[in-house]
Subunit: 325 residues, 4 copies
């Protein structure tokens, strides 16, 4: 365990903007950070939080890129109920359509869907599994006249794999493919780590900031952002694991709050001790449900369903779970 | 979270006899429990611990069935190095051969290998994956004259699945098959939970007590024991996960010891607080390496290799990784 | 290529009773064999043929066990359209319900579903894949009072594997499990070879005769029949492949008929020549669509859907594709 | 069945240069075509045939691009014997090293390995499975000083998927990645159709001509050639299937030869009749061993082994099956 790891353990890391905002509010005694604009909406069981980080300073304060982040907290994702899935996919599709509208993209503008992650490592297989269910149409659409396209956008999809199995940065591969196939926008799906077991497998984040180095479950060094790809990027992140260090810290924090006579607030910062418990798999230990395989499969169906609805004007929510899965 | 769960969280549960012994020794101030006989041996990097629980009282004190337990702690299991694997498989095979000899079984006595667990749930897929690599010969041996059997024992193998996907207790299925196919002994492989992240994926336990209800990753209600099956049972258990509650408790305990001014010993027993952090997946949250798929695959090769060497007199350690995997 | 193989090549083998009947009719100049009673019904695109082989003599003439065989020829199976699937699953469920009624079984009588075949050999993986989608309830039902069972029959399911990987006859395993778990009837699913590429992946056969040695894609030596299991058996067979020898023979036969000046009727019987072309994989060469993986997956969903509807009174056709897949 | 299909059925298509040469020799009465230079060598059980198509005219006569083709016919590939595999991998590696030397590439020149095909369609999964076993090093090598590279070439690998699941031509994806990552040469692996069941799963072809539109199991419209990629290409093709039409034609041809009184030579050209037998899956029917999954897995290990030996100077044949698989 080297010193860099010790520092990471002590820091609170989250890939979710709404968690980053919550942490910032905790630190500042509950007030909304300056330059951050938040709006929430409840739809059935699903809580939608839209966080707009408006300035570079606000981004720095929160530890997230400035941009527009939408989070759907949907406990229904954890059920195995197709009705709930359809409802959530529909809500997610509407948010994605909002991004497409904000980018002023037309119904015929081609899209590249990129599923990050490693399909042979279950906790990191979400991206490739979403790609498997995407209704790809670019190869059929290219030569068709507009009136024959039937409400289907030209969509292509790629699961480029991870650095350890390809020897290439995902960013390099996607940049090369974007340059060659010239989509008007890119959708990127990535598995995230959450700070909370409640949000694991039950939360969907959409953002216009792209995927940044070091985020997600892989070890990306090149970003997949509007800047690197040259087109708008819709980043979809789904927390599928919690880092093992997180739940230990959380337990300590909770106890500090609930039982201050037993656990001193200083205990939370005893990084070395926490680290010793979790070694030797320190860097790679995750907390996950035993049924991780089913959870990933279910999430892939909802996310791909939402994308099929949002990307293709002719595809209705009813159809998407009826014909396309 | 019901009250039964609360109690479980507070209790220290382990499937490894050597961990149960260590816990008993901690409670009693470091002395070997009465009726327990322990011997250790170092072979290369591998530490072999043989624990003999000789009396019912000793079993109760330790929380394990009376019987003979051998544990191999082999850090080499975590490497991806075939030389190390061969070495460990060879050591494991020798221990298994010891059990076969103690049971006074002959080279021709038929054996049934049972891989417990669920092959479509990665952390619980070890048993079925071991079965995949077992050299089965019973169907070829039945009609062959002894001189033609060529040092191969009649071996058959079954991965019966888990209660949730079959609707049947594994014990029922195996009892039915044993009754029909009449093996002289049964080998059962099961994925276990360990108390320590160090032992996860790096430890192999062999026992003559069988598999008992409630042990392992599944929820067995019927045991697979010499009593229920009517023949000797060699139970092979491999810790592939650590329960999430365990690492939180461990962290607290460690801090109690190392920083008593920060964490009071009473904190360790604050089960509700720990539980709150880990809900809502409380019953099923596990800690595992991100590379869980690779770990399970590697372990399956070593365990099946050891079994192929131990069960078939004609199979040498060199051959087993050369021809049979 | 030994002489036994030569004989097999010349013989016309089919696992489908309706094909066996057609062949018998061809030999006899088109008339229905004595003791055979056939009825057909068209439902949408699906042709249902019910063949009753009433006497031992009729069975011998046709080369099938006496019994009641229902075949659904459903081109809709080859589409990827959930509406069609639901329609076919519903028709199939009604036929299965007919068998259950004829056996005079009640709604609460427990059932064991057995998926034959090898899940790691794609063309033979249908049975295990059906089992994966079966709604198993026996473990939940056993202790529930009748009024709480909610229209769900106690169902359990098993994929016992194949002789080559278990070392045991499937028949032995299933007999042992039946004896132990005491179902009132057994449903067995098996992948078959068809005589026609049209029927491959587009036909479902149901029979009350069980599975007989040598039928299906595996090499069974023990039957799974009402006689061996002691309870009624509903055997579901789905042709997923055509033997390579079959299409060569068919081509020759077709040419004999269409172009008798080019191909003499005697050519059809030139087994050695046909065999030479197909060696060295002679015994195991199959004809299959390149998309075999998708075909098997789709068939598994329809067959498991039909079984979930037929076995559980409370499960409706609409629900089955909505909640259970 | 449209007219284009009828024409294809009548034509004799093969992806193997040595088969194309054989067919040309048959047509011309046995003499080597002008501009074709062939050399054979026997190594153990393996027959190595090196065909040099030296002129455009020779290429046209044979129906293959001018270039240098090496074929290894290795019956040992069909065994499950690691010794044989090692031997064949070593022979294949030497041939690949020959290509690398002819291209005048250095030990440090970076290489991109591309596995064509669809990993979720078993008969077409060879390419992606080879990529899984490739020792990728580019991400480790980039920053290392030459003396630290330890005999490992910078290698990266990609399994881009197929048109039907990505919506993009494989050629587009690879061109984009080559442009971005700038390898000095590319190795492409593809599953082929053979004309002979003997060669299926038992033959390896290496060529310097790249992969051309319409070849292999997929439906490529853009080539992966030295011309399109701008760097040398080593194309590795392995026949994993025989087209169903092929074995029917072969049977007819064989009978024409052996039993001319029964089958007229004209019968071979009765494409419509042959087609009728094979519809409705006409375009996609393949002949394959029932154990297709095992065959693909074994081939992937040998081909990836050969590549790991040939690409990395420091990797020995013994090591490759010991540490890297």
């Amino acid at each position: 365990m080297d010193s860099e790891q010790l520092i990471q353990i002590g820091e609170i890391h989250t890939d979710l903007a709404m968690e980053a905002r919550e942490l910032a509010m905790e630190r500042s005694g509950g007030s909304e950070p300056a330059g951050v604009n938040t709006q929430t909406e409840k739809q059935g069981d699903t809580l939608i939080t839209r966080v707009n980080i408006e300035t570079a300073e606000a981004g720095q304060a929160i530890g997230k890129q400035p941009g527009f982040y939408v989070t759907l907290e949907a406990p229904g994702l954890r059920t195995h109920d197709r009705d709930k899935w359809e409802e959530i996919a529909f809500l997610m599709a509407k948010e994605i359509e909002g991004y497409i509208a904000r980018f002023q993209l037309g119904d015929d503008d081609p899209c590249l869907v990129v599923g990050l992650g490693n399909w042979s490592a279950t906790p990191d297989a979400l991206g490739p599994k979403v790609v498997e269910h995407i209704l790809v149409t670019r190869h059929l659409q290219e030569t068709a006249p507009p009136e024959k396209k039937g409400g289907l956008r030209p969509v292509c999809a790629l699961a480029p794999g991870v650095l350890g199995t390809t020897g290439m940065e995902t960013g390099e591969i996607v940049m090369g493919v974007v340059q060659r196939t010239k989509p008007k926008f890119v959708v990127v799906i990535d598995a995230l780590a959450s700070r909370s077991t409640q949000r694991m497998g039950a939360t969907l984040q959409i953002a216009d900031t792209g995927i940044h180095p070091g985020s997600g479950l892989g070890n990306k060094r090149i970003g997949l952002t509007p800047q690197t790809l040259g087109v708008p990027v819709i980043a979809i992140g789904v927390p599928t694991v919690v880092e093992a260090t997180t739940i230990v810290q959380d337990a300590l924090q909770e106890m500090t709050r609930m039982a201050p006579s037993l656990v001193s607030p200083k205990a939370v910062n005893q990084r070395e001790l926490i680290g010793r418990v979790l070694s030797p798999y320190l860097n790679s230990l995750i907390v996950t449900p035993k049924e991780i395989d089913v959870m990933i499969e279910d999430l892939a169906r909802v996310v791909s369903g939402a994308l099929n609805i949002a990307l293709h004007p002719a595809v209705s929510p009813e159809e998407v779970f009826r014909y396309l899965t």
